[in-house]
């Protein structure tokens, strides 16, 4: 399958709006706000050397007000003091920031784990060695298909070959390599072959997730899987899991892969309870944008889920006292709607990935990208769900349009 022309005219990479500032914080700290993040994902710059057609942040240009080196190093200190265990540096493309090595070194100096996620286009031997010197412990390279499919999605010819070179450069620098992959309509049939390729690169882990309708991906309806297609995706991944086990590659489903059904215990065999937990935004996870905006999860839409800015308040205060960071601490099964409200797994699942749902429908609580839901609808009512776009996104980083669920009979 191929993609047509880009649906949105230039500029592909818009200039981000200045950060939202001086957002309100609650006066008090409640007992449930004492939870602490174990994992921070930090966009240290929005500058990027790829032009990915599924990019949720519409990366390309640096934000107009990105943090200075001093501000970044102070933020590292605050993360340590908040109790963060692990920091993943992302972009845009993290290595396009001149001081990315200094930031990584400070993360390690302060005793936290430091990893990086990259498209790998410019991850040269020199940069790989610099990452090693800084103490970066693993780098995950994004690979979204075999050569032609990957390049088509990444928007740059040669990006696949560059990613393969990045693996080699990292291993030569003795940095453990991992990989991450989007799953969508364009690459669905290639996923087993992609895994074989990645295993040949001796990755220690593979994280994968469904392409979600944020940013440029929301512009590209033909990229997005229909909800009923999880009935194909999940069993396929369970087959790939066998290969991962044989190759000793850690299998790491992203938070929008699921949910429950007969394959959950296979896909998440190493997870607590062999199943996904609820959304960890603002509880186990912290997301940071390059301009100092703080979110509960790096993927969440900026406009709706920025709790504050590190230039205005301390990380601890934003974490504990902003409504946008608190929302999953207060989320209840009774808040759900549609199928999810009456689902057997409502309490344990709470409608899966809040990011996926919000960018589709402008609200959380009813998630059609679910194996249990799709199989139940098929078995009990012989219907399936698709999504239909009803509004375009404005064209800003981390934005979203609007979709609606359409139910239709299963074709026979």
């Amino acid at each position: 399958m191929t993609l047509g022309d880009r649906p949105r005219s230039l500029p592909i990479a818009p200039t981000a709006l200045p950060a939202k500032r001086r957002l309100p914080l609650a006066d008090d700290v409640r007992p449930q706000d004492a939870v602490r993040p174990i994992y921070a994902v930090w966009e240290i710059t929005l500058a990027c050397d790829l032009a990915c057609r599924h990019c949720g942040s519409r990366a390309g240009r640096a934000r107009p007000d990105e943090l200075s080196t001093e501000e970044c190093l102070d933020l590292v200190r605050q993360m340590q003091e908040l109790g963060v265990f692990e920091v993943t540096l992302i972009g845009g493309e993290a290595y396009l920031r001149d001081d990315w090595v200094d930031i990584a070194r400070e993360v390690r100096k302060r005793g936290m784990q430091c990893t990086m996620t990259t498209g790998g286009r410019g991850l040269t031997k020199e940069r790989a060695l610099a990452a090693k010197e800084a103490g970066i412990q693993s780098v995950s390279v994004s690979v979204d298909g075999l050569r032609e499919t990957h390049d088509m999605q990444r928007g740059v010819k040669g990006s696949f070959d560059a990613a393969m070179v990045a693996f080699d450069n990292l291993r030569e620098a003795k940095i453990p390599v991992a990989a991450n992959t989007q799953i969508n309509k364009v690459n669905l049939r290639e996923i087993p072959a992609v895994f074989d390729l990645l295993a040949s690169k001796k990755i220690h882990g593979w994280q994968f997730q469904l392409t979600t309708a944020m940013g440029r991906a929301g512009d590209e309806k033909e990229l997005l899987l229909e909800p009923w297609q999880v009935l194909d995706v999940i069993p396929m991944l369970a087959e790939v899991k066998k290969k991962a086990d044989a190759a000793k590659v850690r299998f790491f489903p992203g938070n929008n892969i699921g949910y429950y059904g007969p394959y959950e215990a296979i896909l998440r065999a190493s997870f607590p309870g062999k199943h996904r937990g609820t959304c960890g935004a603002g509880r186990s996870t912290l997301g940071i944008e390059a301009d100092g905006s703080i979110k509960g999860c790096p993927s969440l839409p900026t406009a709706d889920y920025t709790g504050g800015n590190i230039r205005d308040a301390s990380l601890k205060d934003i974490w504990e006292r902003s409504a946008a960071l608190r929302f999953t601490r207060d989320q209840k099964a009774s808040d759900l709607s549609g199928f999810c409200k009456t689902c057997y797994y409502a309490e344990e699942c709470k409608a899966g990935c809040n990011w996926t749902t919000h960018v589709l429908f402008g609200r959380i609580g009813d998630n059609p990208y679910c194996y249990h839901r799709a199989s139940t609808l098929k078995e009990e009512r012989d219907v399936r769900e698709t999504i239909r776009k009803t509004a375009d996104a404005p064209g800003l980083p981390f934005d979203y349009g609007r979709f609606e669920i359409v139910e239709e009979p299963w074709p026979h």
Binding site: I38, Y39, Q113, T117, W206, P262, R283, S284
Partner: protein, 119 residues
């Protein structure tokens, strides 16, 4: 109530009789885990299925946490360990297999000695 996996249909259930297929389901022991990194949480899951974490004193859901972190805070419901943009967590075994000289490799316990793939 924590979920157990039905031995017949492989679905997660909370009852002793599977509501999906009717098979009998043995209740898995409720385990508590301390506040740990993602890799330790994943790695500890297998061990936690048969052995509780000694330092934890009050039972909670398998993925919950009752051990206070060093700063005295609490971590109820630390249960989601993956995010979209996040990388795959790295463990000491991985790092050590690739670079035996790393002195400050992560010290999180893991039961899965992933082979980083010596060349």
């Amino acid at each position: 109530m924590s979920l157990s996996v039905c031995p017949s249909c492989s679905r997660h259930v909370r009852e002793r009789a599977c509501p999906f297929c009717g098979a009998s389901v043995a209740r898995e022991k409720t385990i508590t885990l301390p506040r740990v990194s993602r890799i330790a949480l994943v790695g500890a899951a297998a061990a936690a299925a048969v052995t509780s974490i000694a330092a934890c004193s009050s039972p909670q859901a398998l993925y919950g946490c009752v051990c206070p972190p060093p700063d005295g805070g609490t971590d109820a419901h630390v249960d989601a360990i993956a995010t979209f943009y996040g990388g795959v967590p790295v463990d000491a075994a991985t790092t050590d297999a690739t670079d035996a000289t790393t002195e400050d490799a992560p010290t999180d316990a893991t039961t899965d000695a992933t082979d980083a793939g010596e060349e």
